[in-house]
Amino acid sequence: MSLVRIALAGEGGQGVQAIAEILAEAAYHEGKQTIYIPNFGIEQRGGVSIAFLQVSDQKIGAPKFYKADVIIALSERAVARTAMYSDENTLFVHDSGFDPSPEDLPPVSKQVLGLPAIEIANTKLHTKVFNIIIMGAVIGLTNVVTFESAREALEHKLASKFENDPRLRELNMQALEIGKKMAEESLWEGVEHNA
């Protein structure tokens, strides 16, 4: 696998750092090279939080990158904040719960994709697994780790919570699967659209 660069951005508290960390753990356990670096401002709460994740079969150099292969922006501010990491090879994904204003969207990208992650979390699952849907979507979009190792990493990360409430395991695993499917289907639709 050649180098995959992913930027995940959302409002502080949406959980992008948590899922970047779990994805990085999963990649590490698959024997891949990986670097995860959080970008954090000075806010204690709120503000746009960005996670930079790189996964590769080869040793990774600089921890930061300028242009991502995939960007997922989960709020309007996150769209504006991450547009600069997009170029003609970038798949730019935002939540379809909002319509990003054209001046916020990146001037260049390979494709802009809206995913109804917030809606599905709110109506079908639970608001607190919103980020896990996104984690599933990252896998659906990039295959950066296998679904199985993502499940294992999630299990490991949330072990104590799952122990206290086994229903949470079901909910999280469902979210992961729904996210993955949603992303895969959107990609197909996108292809049809482009054709």
């Binding site: 960390e21 990085a24 753990e25 590490y28 090279q33 990986t34 670097i35 995860y36 670096i37 959080p38 970008n39 954090f40 401002g41 000075i42 990774i60 150099g61 600089a62 921890p63 930061k64 990158f65 300028y66």
Partner: protein, 362 residues
Amino acid sequence: MEKIIGETKKAFITGNEAVAWAALAAGADSMFGYPITPQNEVMHYWTRISPQYSRSFLQTEDEISAGFTVCGAVQSGKKSFTATAGPGNVLMQEPFGMAEAMRLPLVAIIQQRGGPSSGTVIYSQQEVTLTAYGGNGEGHRIVYSTSTHQEIYDYTIKAFNTAWKYRFPVFVLGDGYQAKMREPLEMYDPEDKGIEMITPYPLIGLGGKIGVDREPAHFCNIYSMEEELYDVVMQFEQDYEAMSRDVIEYREFFCEDADIIILAHGVVSRAAEDAVLILRDMGIKAGFFRPITLRPFPGQQLRDMLSQVKPQKILVAESAMGQFAKLVKNEIYGENIPLETLFKPGMGIIDHDIVEKVRSIF
């Protein structure tokens, strides 16, 4: 010495966590610190894991106090360290200066953030001058500039031995990227790698009768006469020069036939190494020289390489406005090679930046 890691193992952790484990494995007795991003997690991990091994921690009222408390602890024979960044590093210069003056085996981890002032909490290489030459002295310090988590681990362990062997304050100079990012490394107990850790020893409160059984233990940071101070500082300089041969570390990469030599340190070296490979693929003969010790600087080694290779140009790349370049220029004064620069104060540098810069000047 107490085994901390047990069987050598791979880990996937942040640089700050690597510091805490390395300090434990190196036998550090205590940490004194004051919170500042991006080094906070050094303290957090230390406070979480050190009590299991009966090591101690004290959060002092500020960085000045944290630094002085380390100065006190090491005099009592305890391996101690601190960690700080940015404005905290500024405040710690007074105790760091005392450690120079009294030749104390102080160890400090610096995770550089953006400046001036509070700057950013993220990343920079703008604490080079401060860490290498801060304070009102002559920079009689040892500064290791790391580039990977493995190096953070290795050089944190090494820092304690260097400090207790040569009795100059020792710094592990990291940055916010290295502090916060996660990447794989191997953790080990030093003796499993054949590293013998120096047992700390008290510097004061020694037994025996002064003048009969032993010389007085005299740790002085103020003198009455200028001649006295002069003699002391000159002795430090002599000791510093003498140990430099053994302490200096550097890395060369594809220098032998290079037309352009890229100079970088710390985390930027990662981008520089990748850039060399990309440039070579393009047919540009690039090489890379990296001082691992910024103090003492591998000046002679750099000069020797340059006079042998005779590159057409040198490029200095750093995430600061020339702090590292000043060290370089100082060491190669008299060499007649055009020197180009890529300065991005407080900003990360990636391979692409260096490749583009080289192509623009070549």
